[in-house]
Symmetry: C2
Subunit: 703 residues, 2 copies
Amino acid sequence: MKRIFICIPYLLLMQHITFAQEDKMAEATMDKVKLHVQMQNDGRPTYDVIYNNKQFIKTSGLGFELADDSTFYKNFKWLGSDTKQVDETWSPVLGEVSKIRNHYQQLTVHLQHQGGQQRLLDIVFRVFADGVGFRYEFPQQPNLGYFIITNERTEFALAGDDKAFWIPGDYDSNEYLYTTSKISQVDNTQIVKNATDIAVRTAPDAKAVQTPLMLKSDDGLYINIHEAGLMNYSAMQLHVDNVTYKLTSALVPDAVGNKAYLKAPDHTPWRTIIVSDKAADILSSKMILNLNEPSRIANTSWIKPMKFVGVWWEMQTGKSTWSYAKNADDKDANGKLIPSGQHGANTANVKRFIDFAAQNGIQGVLVEGWNVGWEDWFGNWKEDVFDFVTPYPDFDVADIQAYAKAKGVQMIMHNETSGSATNYERRMDTAFGFMNKFGYTSVKTGYVGRIIPRGEHHDGQWMVQHYTRVAQKAADHGVMLDAHEPMRPTGVQRTYPNWIASEAGRGNEYNAFSTGNPPEHETIMPFTRLMGGPMDYTPGIFKLKNYSSNPERQVHTTLAKQLALYVTMYSPLQMAADLPENYQAHMDAFQFIKDVAVDWDDTRILEAEPGDYITIARKAKGTGDWFIGAITDEQARSTAFPLNFLDKGRSYECIIYADAANADWKNKPEAYQIKKIRVDSNSKLNIKLAPGGGAAISIKLLK
Amino acid sequence: MKRIFICIPYLLLMQHITFAQEDKMAEATMDKVKLHVQMQNDGRPTYDVIYNNKQFIKTSGLGFELADDSTFYKNFKWLGSDTKQVDETWSPVLGEVSKIRNHYQQLTVHLQHQGGQQRLLDIVFRVFADGVGFRYEFPQQPNLGYFIITNERTEFALAGDDKAFWIPGDYDSNEYLYTTSKISQVDNTQIVKNATDIAVRTAPDAKAVQTPLMLKSDDGLYINIHEAGLMNYSAMQLHVDNVTYKLTSALVPDAVGNKAYLKAPDHTPWRTIIVSDKAADILSSKMILNLNEPSRIANTSWIKPMKFVGVWWEMQTGKSTWSYAKNADDKDANGKLIPSGQHGANTANVKRFIDFAAQNGIQGVLVEGWNVGWEDWFGNWKEDVFDFVTPYPDFDVADIQAYAKAKGVQMIMHNETSGSATNYERRMDTAFGFMNKFGYTSVKTGYVGRIIPRGEHHDGQWMVQHYTRVAQKAADHGVMLDAHEPMRPTGVQRTYPNWIASEAGRGNEYNAFSTGNPPEHETIMPFTRLMGGPMDYTPGIFKLKNYSSNPERQVHTTLAKQLALYVTMYSPLQMAADLPENYQAHMDAFQFIKDVAVDWDDTRILEAEPGDYITIARKAKGTGDWFIGAITDEQARSTAFPLNFLDKGRSYECIIYADAANADWKNKPEAYQIKKIRVDSNSKLNIKLAPGGGAAISIKLLK
């Protein structure tokens, strides 16, 4: 290396030094967004961001502590900067829109550290009309090969005591309920302590919050802070200073306390700041996707959106169990498990789901609890749990596959790892070979439990690499991936389009086994968790209370709101989560789930306010049909919006699935009304939403 | 579990309680060895051991600290004890003898902890004529399922300030030079600091030593402390109290500081104390093998002993390199590595070794550096290093395999992991599939570098499980295993007979790249490292000084001693480590390497003193031929021994490969003489060994 490449960095330096003499600052602008970068007197690089002449991110530090140099955030020399502008358009494989414009002004600042090693650091900023993304790049250079990041010191100095929608900065979970508070009031201590419904909690910093962090300033600016392209680094949390309102990056550590292992040339993920004076613009931002790398999969024709049903909600609500025997030691004289009679994933029951899917045009059937190991699967930090290929005696893989195939239904594989990633990695070739052999085209993975390698965390670099490795392995085998309990998404679905959804947040399931999700929850999620990518939220619950196991539990929405979530919670993979018998009781409402698209040509955020309400219209891919979802929090709401996005001069059949007049989430959640009308682009709809309610609307182009 | 099995422990208890009232002590005896076990007033179980009426292990504590109970070494109630005697004989697949007698008196002590959980603990002792083995057993019981051991408190209270042959207690290396000192003088600080030739050193306790620990008391007792059956636990080191001479078990921690994860019913490895007033008895002890489980491999017919040559010593001595290019970044315009011209594992050179092996009846050829990755392989804690299946451009796998097969030679696979066990595990199915595809029947593995999962250590439970998993995987694929840098062996080759050798100690190679191994080294190794199992020491160096890379280095033995090591360093896998051209300069001496066996029907330790000398005679398996190796330390030595182990009335051809009269390891290491005589069972041999010298003798039965 040294002999051949050693001169190149120095040649670059020469060029930049001409800039360096001019100034120690630079700026870049796109529409209302303006970025300043400058060098402080002590050699600290800083930046600040202005929106519409208001500085909403004040002077904020940049840089690192490295294992072999704790000062890699100051004592820099400004070598120079350069800029370029990009304006391009690309098409996602699956998405909310069919074409995405990527338009930004790029500013690269070249720095050299003034320690003995004279190391180079570039900071690359991209200024968009809706915000700023930046990342650190470590150029190839003689004195920086392999290195360890012990701390990242990126700051986001908020201009005021903004209102924040936040969850605790936990190394192992993104499944907390959101708290709405001023930045000055952030303290997660009691929240973490009380969140006993979350299996693994590791939140050592009471002032740390997760990203995506949604903020609203007193003067009405909406700000979203997150990251993009997290594939080889630990997830960024934010440490909150309650007094100065400064947020500082806090990376998830590994088993020995390090934050990331890199080798130059390399770079960090992008740090993203999305900003607007309209909340709807936050939801329609494509900045995070734009900052991700293009697809690494050349042929993506096999990647398909999908609705599915599954043997799952019945376990969540206590009708059946994942396990085959009651306990791991319930064995007969021959050492065989004694069935409890409660096992959900039995062949007959699975065929019932296949029949229902086939009858209703639902593409997939997920089955959890099909493979041996569920009697003793998590909570004991046990390494060898599942083998991913051995079915329980009452689950006939070949028979089920043949039955599903004959009915045109895809079976969805389930690989729960219980957090034992080492066990999964050593068996992954076998597991994906099994999927290929039996014709599974998609897999749901799970990571419930403490991570093995012990000392690693769900959101640390090693696990981030693991999830990415699984996505690559799945792609190698032509399998689509739906990851549960991975790190929260950062737009990597652009790079791995087969990674079509993740959970990585507090899903609908919490309504079954915990105090649940309050009605505002789904109005916050699109501004937080979903900023990074699609969520497998599992909407579509029709029987909203009186579960067999937990009679005191209920879903905190109306039935109509469950329908609306198919539009407001974007995902190309959407479950119809309830049981066939519960759908059969409301087939008129189920029609919306049958009809609704999961992949889109266009999306319009008609109105939105985090924590209060969201109304979104989307145009189904390759058709002229539109679908609208409108949801509210615990407040009843009346809303009205024009349908001016419809094609001029065309006529549409509009079906409105709305809350009944007397509906409310608490006492009368299953009261809905269905209305069919004709509409065109001059029409305006008036909709009433119950407390915790919603409305789902299908608008089909009449031929 | 609870409903079906809950009563069984209590039934057992009932039975023991009858004992409990009688006494709080028990004992067991076999020949000169006597064991006492008793309960102290504070509920601490203790033991002591007597040999020939001398108490050489004084009252010593037993027990644990658990993650949920730090007092699991005291406050026990003595429930009772039971005994049994076993006398059986078994045959190892490969070994120093063809039949092994397993004769012991077993004493099991049943204890119940007097904490709130009333947990049960059994301690099982086996008393042999040559020492004591004991282990802890955790019975199935209601209040002990999964549990974590945070500390083991087993003590070995030496009766005096014994002389010890020791290396530092290092979590990652067993490759230190041995120090001989009194127990009161043990301090590894400077040794660890100065051992810069060892890549990874982690020795936080200055008073910790590794096992096998060889001891000699002032009154002439030889004592060896080690363990047996280490497959699911961390390796035991010993913390030395310089004042009381008490040794205490110190287990290697994992990334979060825990020592072992178990689930009852389970047990620890055996702790072993071998004792005799004759040093030779230590070397002939089979206690450690006897305490291991029988073979887990049903059909062992494919497991064969083997001598081999290899493309390896030429890299150690600087003639060629493992890597293909000089640096990882030496690439041409097409991104292909630019060859340095120094690459050892090229097809032509490999064929030269195949030719030499075929001509001389050597079964195998090892090739290191055959696969891509050696330009940047260790030292950077990098996870993705080798893929184990991609050869360098100048190594033609198929051609080499065909060539070797035609000549009746077995190629030996080499899988270096550089300590990245996670990378190996996820690629292991592919790696072993590759071996099967190309006909490799054995693999040498390597673990040079810091372990990944980061925070784990070479000798911790996770890695112990890893090495064992590799042995199982190799068995599944019909492949024999030679592991370098694993935990030191504990007789597990009985359970996995395909794991035919390990390095796990300071091999001959240190003579090439460091200050080397002093002449006494090989007289200590059989009493320490080799107590646990065969070592791939790589003897047979004929060109003992003036290497191309390090002219100041040399092997610290004579050539004749290199020959003797084939007998004194037991292994069913023995390398002829030098280059063909160096053997071709001394084909008369090489005849011994061609002739010597590596698997044996019988073994006689003719004389031995750790640190001074060893003479061993072995009878080749399935023949009437004997081979003798005699070695000395830096002192010249004359020795004489009768050949009364030969068959009476038969005549033998005896070839003696001895040091020349003027030989010495430092100045004239390559001076040897070969003498051929007739001998029978009445003969006596007189042998002179040079300083650092040895003698190798073949005694062939005349038909």
